[in-house]
């Protein structure tokens, strides 16, 4: 367990002591700023029935940030170690493969969550100009962040899996982006077919990340969403672990 924390701390420090981590966060903050500036310009003077969290989720920037940022922050987790030759050294230390995988995932995930914190500032700016305290509900805010964290857990675990497959960070990012886009596009099937009560519609609705996220931004935490995201995260981490184990055999 100690080695897990040591590894996770080392990985996390990799983001925060280099300029790379700050550049990623700055780009994400810029995209968030663009999103909110757009919303404020469009909705200025209009009566709005949705809470602020719902408004932000409706803008496409949310998914853009998710799809672009996660490959960038995960690509280095394993690929950089392989490229720089420190991976073999790491694997010969008395540290279990599971600890390595979990430590790298934890550091990436924590960085991902920190990356989203400026969203709070943006939401408070919007609330300030609505002059209505009910426009931002604390419960909805908490569940929105829970949703962001859960979607992020899936995408960062997916990114770790992509990173472990390659020595090149670029290739890892591309694999992660392609898999992420595929997962994202599956959500669109729920829009392509008219919503019915049949099993196909229920299936596509269940795997639709839009549907899950819509609940979160409305302040609803559905146990099925928790199961969906956590099980996918575990699945991708399991695949990552299997690939890491396979390095030993080579």
């Amino acid at each position: 367990m100690r080695s897990y924390f040591t590894l996770a701390r080392r990985e996390l420090a990799g983001y925060f002591v280099s300029l790379t981590g700050y550049v990623i966060i700055a780009v994400v903050v810029l995209l968030l700023g663009l999103s909110f500036t757009y919303l404020l310009e469009v909705l200025n003077g209009q009566a709005v029935e949705m809470p602020v969290t719902d408004l932000f989720y409706d803008a496409f920037f949310f998914w853009l940030i998710l799809l672009l940022a996660t490959p960038v922050i995960t690509m280095r987790s394993f690929a950089l170690e392989k490229y720089s030759g420190t991976y073999e050294t790491l694997m010969t230390t008395p540290v279990g493969e599971l600890e390595v995988v979990l430590a790298k995932f934890t550091s990436v995930f924590v960085f991902y969550v920190v990356m989203w914190l400026p969203l709070l500032a943006c939401l408070f700016v919007v609330r300030h100009y609505t002059q209505d305290r009910t426009a931002l509900d604390w419960g909805a805010l908490a569940s929105t962040f829970l949703g962001i964290a859960l979607v992020g857990a899936v995408y960062t675990s997916l990114g770790c899996f992509a990173s472990v497959l390659s020595r090149s960070q670029i290739i890892a990012a591309m694999i992660s982006f392609a898999l992420g886009i595929a997962l994202f596009l599956l959500s669109f099937f729920s829009f392509l077919t008219p919503p019915r009560a049949d099993w196909q519609s229920r299936f596509f609705n269940y795997i639709s990340m839009f549907s899950h996220m819509q609940d979160f931004v409305r302040g609803i935490v559905d146990a099925r969403s928790l199961v969906f995201y956590l099980s996918l995260t575990v699945f991708f981490l399991f695949l990552t672990l299997k690939v890491v184990e396979s390095q030993r055999w080579k």
Partner: protein
């Protein structure tokens, strides 16, 4: 003497294949496990935690209890084009999602009649609804028993801004989705079949007759489509009006006996439901009790007509009051033939359970009500003092809807229309007359007051108000200040580490 370590022999191809197979098998097993867990969660794990302060999407305990008692499949069809009212559509979809998760027997289908006209046509055929009023609606169906909730019923609106000229925006103030949906589900899953009793023996229109002028078979069919049992009722003997039924008096041409009037009065006092359709030139005998007990004024000696169309005798109107029976009809309107003026008596009652009378159908502002010269048939005798303008021709009355005031059956409800020919076989398909019949039956048989724990949910609206200067400032903060701050912090860390 130390010996150099001997490298372990490379894995054989068979061994490598076997290990690869094991990895693939374990990955597949894990995938199967993930699928299985999600399958079980989708079917059985329906816990939803509502974290918002106002619990906007949480169902009331009354609805949850009702849904838990539903054992038959209930099909809900949202026949709606989202672009017409996006926020209302989202509210409906969000609410129905909660219903279907609370009980998997509630199955929700969505039909966008603009984007999926074929599905819309199938729906119309399946439910034998002409839907002349092209309104968005939500239909509930359990074993063929149906109930519709129209979009116009689902919200209360604040028109004060529009009327005062301050804004052109009509503001939605409340959303009544849960009240209406729960009521509809309670209605369609109720195993008891509602009854409609057509009063007989006074020259009324005949619900069993296919005659074009005197038959009411199409009206009876409308009721049967709503799974309402249609019976005839003779009050001349010792029969009482069955307490759980809807009494229909359709165009009586002979006065009811005093004993019959008393029976109708008793029925209404006990929370009965009455659809009274009057006929020109005839008196039913109920008029005095309507005035005394229900504040309804009927002038059986007068007729309503349009001043510029007096010769035709019929009135095509789209001028309606704010009421669930008529609000879905505003686009198409009703066709009435020589109606009597029926309105609200101008009396002020201090009692808590005073009848609430709503005038629901009016002539256009070009209308006039003149008395008849009965010695010359239905000939009008216009006088300069006759009432002019929008003349009321029908009322909907509710009495005793206050909780605790009437414990037995809830509120009594009446719909009195100064016309009966418009629902006869010849005229019922004209304009939205048929829809009126269905909506009136729905309202009269509704027991939603028993769902007293569910109220309309207030809709919170807010405005983002920024001056140009403020907008510029926000733009600077969001696009330069925040990202720049993060970059400066990064550079600072980088510089500290370098030095």
């Amino acid at each position: 003497m130390p010996t150099s370590p001997t490298p372990s022999p490379p894995l054989s191809a068979a061994r490598r294949w076997w290990i690869g197979f094991n990895v693939a098998a374990s990955a597949l097993a894990m995938l199967a496990l993930v699928v299985m867990v999600n399958y079980l969660a989708e079917r059985h794990l329906h816990q939803r935690f509502h974290w918002t302060a106002n619990r906007q999407w949480q169902l009331t305990p009354l609805t949850v209890r009702l849904l838990q008692s539903v054992t038959n499949d209930v099909r809900v069809v949202v026949f709606f084009h989202r672009d017409n009212a996006p926020s209302l559509y989202d509210a409906i979809a969000g609410l129905l999602k909660e219903y279907s998760l609370a009980n998997t027997k509630i199955r929700v289908d969505y039909i966008d009649y603009v984007n999926h006209p074929a599905a819309a046509e199938v729906f119309k055929q399946q439910y034998k609804r002409p839907f002349k009023t092209e309104h968005d609606l939500v239909l509930f169906d359990a074993n063929g028993k149906t109930r519709e909730v129209y979009d116009t019923e689902l919200s209360d609106y604040d028109l004060s801004g529009v009327l005062s000229g301050r804004t052109r925006e009509v503001r939605r103030t409340t959303f009544k989705g849960e009240l209406l949906f729960t009521s509809a589900i309670a209605g369609v899953t109720d195993p008891t079949r509602p009854k409609a009793c057509f009063l007989d023996g006074h020259g009324e229109f005949d619900p069993g007759s296919d005659q074009e002028q005197t038959g009411y078979s199409k009206m009876a069919a409308v009721l049967r489509e709503k799974d309402i049992e249609v019976n005839r009722l003779d009050l001349s003997g010792t029969n009482d009006v069955p307490s759980d039924s809807l009494l229909v008096i359709a165009g009586a041409t002979h006065r009811l006996e005093p004993a019959e009037v008393r029976r109708v009065e008793t029925f209404l006092e006990r929370g009965g439901r009455l659809l009274l359709l009057l006929r020109q030139g005839y008196v039913t005998g109920l008029e005095p009790t309507l005035a005394t007990n229900w504040d309804v004024a009927v002038n059986e000696r007068a007729l309503v007509y349009e001043r510029n169309n007096a010769a035709d005798g019929y009135i095509l109107t789209t001028n309606f009051g704010d009421h669930p029976i008529v609000s879905p009809l505003t686009d198409v309107g009703l066709a009435l033939i020589l109606p009597l003026p029926v309105g609200k008596l101008p009396v002020a009652r201090p009692e808590a359970d005073a009848p609430a009378v709503k005038e629901i159908i009016f002539s256009s502002t070009n209308g006039m009500a003149s008395e008849l010269d009965l010695s010359k048939g239905l000939r009008l005798q216009p006088r300069p003092t006759d009432p002019q303008g929008a003349i009321p021709m029908a009322v909907a009355v509710e009495k005793g809807g206050i909780q605790g005031v009437r414990a037995d059956r809830g509120a009594a409800r009446l719909v009195v229309v100064g016309e009966s020919l418009f629902l006869a076989n010849q005229w019922i398909e004209a304009k939205a007359n048929r829809d009126f019949a269905a909506l009136a039956a729905d309202w009269l048989l509704d027991r939603r007051q028993l769902l007293g724990g569910i109220g309309p949910r207030p809709i919170t609206q807010y405005r983002i108000l920024l001056t140009d200067t403020q907008l510029r400032r926000v733009r600077w903060i969001l696009l330069a200040g925040l990202p720049g701050g993060v970059l400066v912090l990064g550079l600072l860390v980088w510089w500290v580490r370098r030095h």
